[in-house]
């Protein structure tokens, strides 16, 4: 369903990706983990055409998308729902207008059809009856769920989640995790999530990939990742400040006495 082939990306002198390759099968949930600033979100944005890779190719449903023109890219975007880190809801629009935005602009639905879809999708994320509220009136968790409702309104084949549980309390994080699993079960969508929340990664993933220094360090099932002997991966999943991962301004290689 998704194939990333030898992807390179630099911003000025900063190398973000240096030869990333992996595949995601239909209906699979792949979680990409990695430290802050490791390029996880940049990777997602390249998959939806927001950022162009310097080298390499991204195939969505067999179609190379890296150098498509805007109109061709729109056809690919119809297949993809993107859930942003801070939800990225349009402040000036109501919840209903946010959720129906893509229905009018990408799929040209009528008002009647769009209203029904908005109701259904909000019910699916457990937020019926908030259609007329503005984003400023919602809590963080509600915003995330409205963001998910907006992403699934187009019935996409692929869902991309950018840090779906960041900034939420543990209970609300689990609500979002359950929602991701529910969507996988009910809609059979392929999903890629980027996160550094390991609890979430273990719960929602079929496979987990660790992004480190611009490359995929290791990829495997949650079980394989938990049992990995790689010291970098072990330090990351255990959340320890001691280990081989360099931390600016912190002597992290000292042994505890």
């Amino acid at each position: 369903m998704i194939q990333i082939s030898d992807l390179f990306k630099c911003f000025g002198r900063k190398i973000v990706h240096q030869g990333i390759s992996f595949e995601v099968d239909k209906g699979e949930v792949l979680t990409i983990i990695g430290g802050s600033g490791s390029g996880k979100s940049v990777l997602l944005k390249q998959m939806v055409g927001l950022i162009k890779p310097d080298r390499g190719e991204i195939y969505i449903d067999g179609k190379a998308i890296s150098h498509l023109e805007e109109e061709e890219l729109q056809e690919v975007q119809k297949m993809i729902g993107y859930v942003f880190q801070e939800a990225a809801l349009f402040d000036s629009l109501t919840v209903a207008e946010n959720v129906s935005f893509g229905l009018y602009n990408l799929l040209k639905f009528s008002e009647h059809e769009a209203k029904k879809i908005v109701r259904d999708k909000l019910a699916l994320v457990g937020l019926s009856g908030i259609e007329d509220l503005k984003p400023a009136q919602l809590s963080g968790g509600m915003k995330k769920r409205v963001g998910i409702a907006r992403a699934i309104a187009l019935n996409p084949k692929i869902l991309l989640y950018d840090e779906p549980t960041t900034g939420l309390d543990p209970v609300m994080s689990d609500v979002i995790n359950d929602l991701i699993l529910k969507l996988k079960k009910e809609t059979q969508t392929t999903a890629i999530a980027v996160t550094h929340d390991m609890k979430s990664a273990y719960k929602i993933s079929d496979r987990i990939a660790m992004l480190y220094e611009g490359k995929i360090l290791e990829i495997g099932t949650p079980q394989q990742i938990q049992n990995s002997k790689n010291p970098i991966l072990r330090q990351f999943i255990s959340g320890s400040s001691f280990g081989p991962i360099p931390i600016p301004g912190h002597k992290n290689n000292e042994h505890r006495n």
Partner: protein
């Protein structure tokens, strides 16, 4: 040795600044080009256009009116006293107020107020949308941000600024009349006869300026907003830059535009 190094650093710094400035000029031109492309190649989002017309026109009107009302009063007061000193009578007050406001102060002062109010609002709104990924969200939902955000703002600015200038001209002339009549005792028919003898091209002179200033202000504001980086601090910087650069360009552009219009005998 050290001096050579400093010199080469200084030269490379200047070179980088020139390159960056050229890049920005190119990006601004591309923004304008894309905006006009989408204006002619996609249906207008009427709701957005209406909201922008309301924001830029109706809600800016009170502050521009107040500015020009007092400017007209000050002009009448200053010119009245100056002419009394020279001619012993307050002559040509209507002519001076009318010509100054319609050709120069109306478009320039209205544009400066417009840059402060509308330019700042546009840069802050688009900048906030940029740093909170709302611009990216527009792309993923099949909507080009230039088409959805920039086109309605360009259209509203280029329509509403000339209208505001026309309103402001009237208000300024009215302010001048109050002083001319009640302070210097100039009869209404004398004051307004001096206004009526103004040629239509003198008013057109001011309106052409308003359209160009509208384009300058909205281009700079949209560009600053859409290229914002770095969270709340970045939004603040973009907003400040949008206002400062717009005001400077309006004032500098005013001279060159006046020279051009005079050369073409417009006004």
């Amino acid at each position: 040795m050290n001096t050579d190094l400093n010199q080469s650093n200084f030269i490379s710094l200047i070179g980088r600044k020139i390159l960056r400035s050229s890049e920005i000029c190119g990006e601004v031109v591309i923004l304008v080009k894309r905006t006009f492309y989408w204006f002619f190649h996609a249906p207008l989002n009427r709701r957005n256009v209406f909201l922008q017309l309301l924001e830029m026109g109706a809600r800016t009107f009170p502050v521009t009116s107040l500015t020009l009302f007092f400017t007209g009063m000050v002009l009448a007061l200053q010119s009245g006293y100056s002419f009394i000193k020279v001619f012993n009578e307050p002559l040509y007050v209507g002519r001076l107020v009318g010509a100054s406001i319609c050709k120069e102060l109306g478009p320039v002062l209205t544009s400066l107020v417009f840059a402060g109010r509308v330019g700042a609002a546009v840069a802050a709104e688009l900048g906030t949308m940029k740093v909170t990924e709302q611009i990216d969200a527009l792309y993923t939902l099949g909507t080009n941000p230039i088409k959805y955000l920039a086109v309605p703002r360009f259209l509203a600015a280029m329509l509403m600024l000339p209208l505001l200038v026309i309103y402001s001209d009237f208000i300024g002339i009215l302010g001048g009349f109050l002083i001319a009549h009640f302070r210097f005792g100039i009869p209404p028919n004398v004051y307004f006869d001096e206004i009526y003898i103004m040629q239509i091209r003198e008013v057109v002179h001011g309106l052409i300026k308003a359209v160009v200033f509208g384009l300058i202000i909205i281009t700079i504001s949209c560009y600053e907003g859409l290229t914002t980086e770095g969270g709340a601090e970045g939004v603040g910087q973009s907003t400040t830059s949008a206002v400062v650069i717009s005001m400077v360009l309006v004032l500098v552009g005013d001279y060159f535009l006046t020279a051009l219009l005079v050369a073409f005998r417009i006004g």
